[in-house]
Amino acid sequence: MAAATDTLAPQARRTRPLFPRIDGGTWISVGIALMAIAFTLGPILYLILGGFKTQNQLASDPVGLPQPWVWSNYADILTAGIFWRQLLNSLLVAVGTTVGVVACGTMAAYPLARYRFRGANALFVLFTTGLMFPLTVAILPLYLLLRDMGLVGSMWGLIVPQIAFGLATTIIIMRPFLAAIPHELEEAAFVDGVSRVGFFWRILLPLARPGMVTVGVLAFIGSWNAYLLPLLLLTSGAENMTLPLGVTVFQGRYASATTSIMAYTSLAMIPALVFFLILERRIVDGLTGAVKG
């Protein structure tokens, strides 16, 4: 920064700020941004507004605002209980997966980052090959394995494999993170008589929290949005399903009640969108970090 700015005369900088002039180009930018926003938001708004209409309103005026606003679609779903049950299921599975991935992944990343031992690299490579094996490739044998273990229909049948498939990303992100923590800290801790395990618990974990939040957020979103595994495992009744699966079942069962489906789908979007708004920075960092790491 310094080298380049020093060469600029001060008044040149004042008269020519970088880009924020309001000129034709800015308006083109705003125009493109608006088009992108309309493309993104249009379908979602249509869905949410449709939930506030009756079937007839939707047929006669699909685009406009509801006239009058009908609350019963949303109210019926929110008072029926099944939606909340599925929300809770999704939440339990996602929290279980997140805790498991972060705990197992961080623990595994610790020796891989800070111990020197034979096979350390081979072990790391083994975990990274997990990136090459998406759930889709393993799904048929995985289903049979879970069936034989009696885990079909249970939350654990979702949580445990999701932890296993989340480990690759977690370890890849956490290893450099843990390796970057200064060795002086470790030496000081050992001089003070802290064991390596104690060092991990008392010093490393607090310092690694940002990395853990990042991988946790990724694991949570992955689990929250999962479809294939729940599709095969949770076949026994809507009250056992996670939200995405529940939406498909609702859509299949009430196929003619379009506005109810719109309300159900809109409600199912809200948790993910809220989560995203709160943690946007983390999610973006996690994605770009995961991609670069």
Binding site: V63, M107, R114, I139, L140, P141, F275
Partner: protein, 349 residues
Amino acid sequence: MTTVTAPAREEGPAVDATSAAGTRPTPTGNTTRQRKDTARKWAEIGLFVGPALALFLTFVVYPVASAARYSLFKWNGVQQFSEATFIGLENYARALFGGTDPATQAAFRTAYSEPFWTALGHNFAIIGLSMAVQLPLALLVALTLNRRFPGRAIARTIIFAPYVLSEVIAGIMWLIILDPNGIATRMAGAAGITMPAGGWLESQTWGFWVVFFVVTWKYLGLAIILFLAGLSGVPQELQEAASIDGASWWQVQWRINVPLIGPTIRIWAFLSIIGSIQLFDMVWVLNKGGTTGQYSTIASFMMQVGYFRNDVGFGSAIAVIMFLISLVIALAYMAVMLRGDSNSAGKAR
């Protein structure tokens, strides 16, 4: 690394830890101390890596290896695996050209081989279209959003939002929109386009393009956000210097920003290609790849045959093919990456 440097001797993980801790170290000095240290270290490694390794081996490695094994058998997944018939590479032959048995080859070609190639063609068409349509579109939006203007932060947030929605929920939303009596028909009608017979998704000509549109809606935000992250790493001085030298905004973008985020674009391309090969959720929610498979993917075909038609052997062969394609792409990517990085060593990311 300042951790204890182990002597080259191998010790099984988690062995000896307790016994070493239980026996008092004799004051004879270094060797016992060192051995105790080593045993303890292996115990710790076992403790830390053990749970992850056990889960990984059981639920990732074992199923993947099983898929490779099952793919060599004729097996329906219901009977005991010991009753399955070993048929070598016949499942692969069936997928690729209808199998080697002349009696069934013609029938199998229509039933298995043609749908497989159709599905695979769709996967590759989506890859090609992603590069030809999504990449320039995402670049344009990212470069635009990289400028300062009021409301930029909100615009970024909104554009990224579809990426965090589940494919299933987004898929249902599009099912409603694309319903023959839905809003898509009405809007297209206003633009003078009549709905194809059977609806947007069921049409042989429209189905695939509509699904690609939906996939673009879902994933364009990811590309934009990644490119923006790359652009934020481009040194401001460069753009500043170029614009002072009289370069127009477009020239700055084309000559400086786009080349400098090359690595980010490559990463996105890799993610996009792998994602396109494994595309499943969205396609499945949109009527399972279409009633005639007009926008099926290899993953949806695999599920259709392997799980819902109980042909685990054949489905596993498709899974292995899918994995091999991903592997080749990953290796090719690494080769390109390594070459690219050695060429551009020292350049900013």
